[in-house]
């Protein structure tokens, strides 16, 4: 049933949405077109490639061949893939325990859950120094294991909380009948329970990878040359290349593409991920 004035409202809606889209995509668009400008054009406000300025892929080609970019990307990949694997594995085990068993002595399930939740709310800066001292003590400063260990620790509570929700959402009957058939708890966990929440597990893995890829403070404090991740590397770019905006822009785009692609891929899980399960998507 259409009412009078609906057309006007529709037009206003579309116009407002269009304005917001332009505003929210502007920084990324601007960075992208800057990456395909010749250096002299980067100081102009030309924004239409081919019409206002002649685009070039020169900077892209030279930057993609630069060993330092590769090193940062490889470091970030290695650290992200490893810490996501560790956190997802340890987290799903704990999540399973919290979803399927009752803890009674000392701590109840609710206590353990709020403990993990409070860790998730902990401000990173309060942990930067303790982490640094720990890694210094083990002589691991500026190594990959250092960042992997710390990222796993920091994102583990997230994996616990979200996997617990996922286990809660699948029926226990299948697991029970497997137990009756003589499977051990471990077999049930690996062969029945984990496959049942496979999509959620994949999402947890991907989201933690993106978290790790984007994490700055810990990586910055724990590394300086060898194990620097993408965020640490691009933060340094500002001082090393100055106002070579074409180079800055290429590196900026390189840094944001993986998390954007992955994030959009697991959109369905983003909401409960961002709010630690407080809001269901």
């Amino acid at each position: 049933m259409r009412r009078k004035g609906d057309l006007v409202k529709d037009v206003v809606t579309y116009v407002l949405i269009a304005i917001f889209l332009v505003l929210f995509l502007f920084p990324i668009y601007w960075t992208f077109i800057t990456s395909i400008k010749i250096p002299a054009d980067t100081f102009t406000s030309k924004f239409l490639p081919f019409i206002q300025f002649q685009p070039t892929v020169k900077t892209w080609i030279s930057q993609l061949q630069a060993a330092e970019n590769f090193k940062a990307i490889l470091n970030s990949l290695l650290i992200g893939l490893s810490s996501a694997a560790l956190a997802t594995f340890l987290g799903s085990m704990a999540g399973y325990a919290l979803a399927r068993f009752q803890f009674r002595r000392f701590f109840k399930n609710a206590d353990i859950i709020s403990w993990f939740l409070s860790l998730r709310i902990m401000p990173p800066i309060a942990l930067a120094l303790p982490f640094y001292a720990l890694i210094l003590f083990f002589g691991l400063i500026d190594t990959h294991p250092a960042v992997i260990l710390i990222h796993t620790a920091f994102f583990l509570p997230y994996a616990v909380l979200v996997s617990r929700d996922a286990f809660k959402a699948v029926p226990v009957e299948i697991e029970e009948s497997a137990l009756v058939d003589g499977c051990s708890r471990l077999q049930v966990f690996f062969r029945v329970a984990l496959p049942l929440i496979a999509p959620a597990l994949a999402a947890i893995y991907i989201i933690i990878f993106a978290f790790s890829w984007n994490e700055f403070l810990f990586a910055f404090v724990l590394t300086n040359r060898v194990a620097t991740t993408m965020p640490v590397y691009i933060a340094g770019t500002v001082t090393t290349v100055g106002v070579l905006f074409d180079i800055l822009s290429v590196r900026g785009i390189l840094a944001i593409i993986p998390p954007i692609v992955l994030g959009l891929l697991v959109q369905r899980y983003i909401i409960s991920g961002l709010t630690m399960g407080a809001v269901k998507g």
Binding site: W30, L98, A126, A255, P259
Partner: protein
């Protein structure tokens, strides 16, 4: 039966991991905060609560508390309001809803540090970026990163850009989950759009909005990357020096580990206090 013991096998690895890598270092830091430990320094001496008194005699501590709270007060309401407006627009029966939603949440996945890098280009005060566009339009240009007052709004702008999509996404989920029968009933009773919003949508959406408020306050209290990189360590001067930047500088520029640990715990106590007040206020909507 022995079945029940296996629950410890499942939960202990994660618990022990956190105890060893988070809780133990935190406890050590608590001890460090009572010493005059410095990086590379010789033995640290026990100095009692001296480090905890230090910030209260430092004007930069008060400044950083003020700056941090200022960003919360300036940025969070804008993010909530814009997010709500966007969600209301997109939840109307429009074409391409899925694509619009996907495009609008893209900034969510951009790390603050990457935005700080892109900001070098966008907020450049010579030609190009926003100033170039302003000049083309015949408008006055702004000193985004070098003028103290403008710099505060640059940080707010960056935060709004990065986090309005969060408010939008969660509000949209909340709108989609509104009980259909109540909305229908109000429509049939002839409620106008404004009445619907004021008396139906807004009250039903309150828990969702409070959840967003909670998470946005947590995150804004730890604002670090934008002031730290885009504004060159909380500059100009200390106009955008948030508490996290202040703590970072004591710990990793001055290497006063004892002091930095002490200020970290003061900060932790402040955050906890703010959060427990919030949680207390929010709770009644969930019970």
């Amino acid at each position: 039966m022995g079945q029940d013991r296996i629950k410890f096998f499942f939960i202990l690895p994660a618990v022990i991991y956190i105890l060893a890598l988070v809780i133990f270092p935190l406890a050590t830091a608590l001890y460090t905060s009572l010493t005059d430990a410095r990086f590379g320094g010789t033995l640290a001496n026990f100095v009692g609560i001296r480090n905890y008194m230090m910030p209260f005699g430092d004007y930069r501590f008060y400044n950083s508390v003020y700056v941090t709270l200022l960003f919360v007060v300036l940025a969070v309401p804008i993010e909530l309001a814009l997010g709500l407006l966007l969600a209301l627009l997109v939840s109307r029966n429009i074409k391409g809803q899925g694509i619009i939603r996907s495009l609008l949440i893209i900034p969510l996945f951009v790390s603050p540090i990457a935005f700080a890098l892109m900001g070098q280009v966008i907020f450049y005060e010579g030609g190009g970026g926003i100033n170039g566009i302003l000049k083309d339009l015949g408008l006055p240009t702004l000193r985004w990163r070098s003028d103290p007052t403008t710099a505060i709004f640059t940080v707010v702008l960056a935060d709004v850009w990065m986090w309005t999509p969060f408010a939008f996404l969660i509000t949209l989920a909340g709108l989609n989950a509104l009980p259909k029968d109540i909305v229908e009933a109000a429509r049939i009773d002839g409620a106008s759009d404004a009445q619907m919003f004021r008396h139906v949508t807004l009250p039903l959406l309150t828990p969702t909005l409070l959840t967003i408020l909670f998470f946005r306050i947590i995150d804004t209290l730890r604002l670090f990357e934008i002031p730290f990189t885009l504004l060159g360590g909380g500059g100009p001067g200390i106009t955008t020096e948030t508490l996290t930047v202040y703590i970072y500088k004591i710990g990793f520029r001055g290497f006063f580990f004892g002091q930095a640990a002490a200020v970290s715990f003061i900060y932790l106590a402040m955050v906890s206090a703010i959060l427990s007040v919030l949680l207390y206020r929010v709770r009644k909507y969930y019970v």
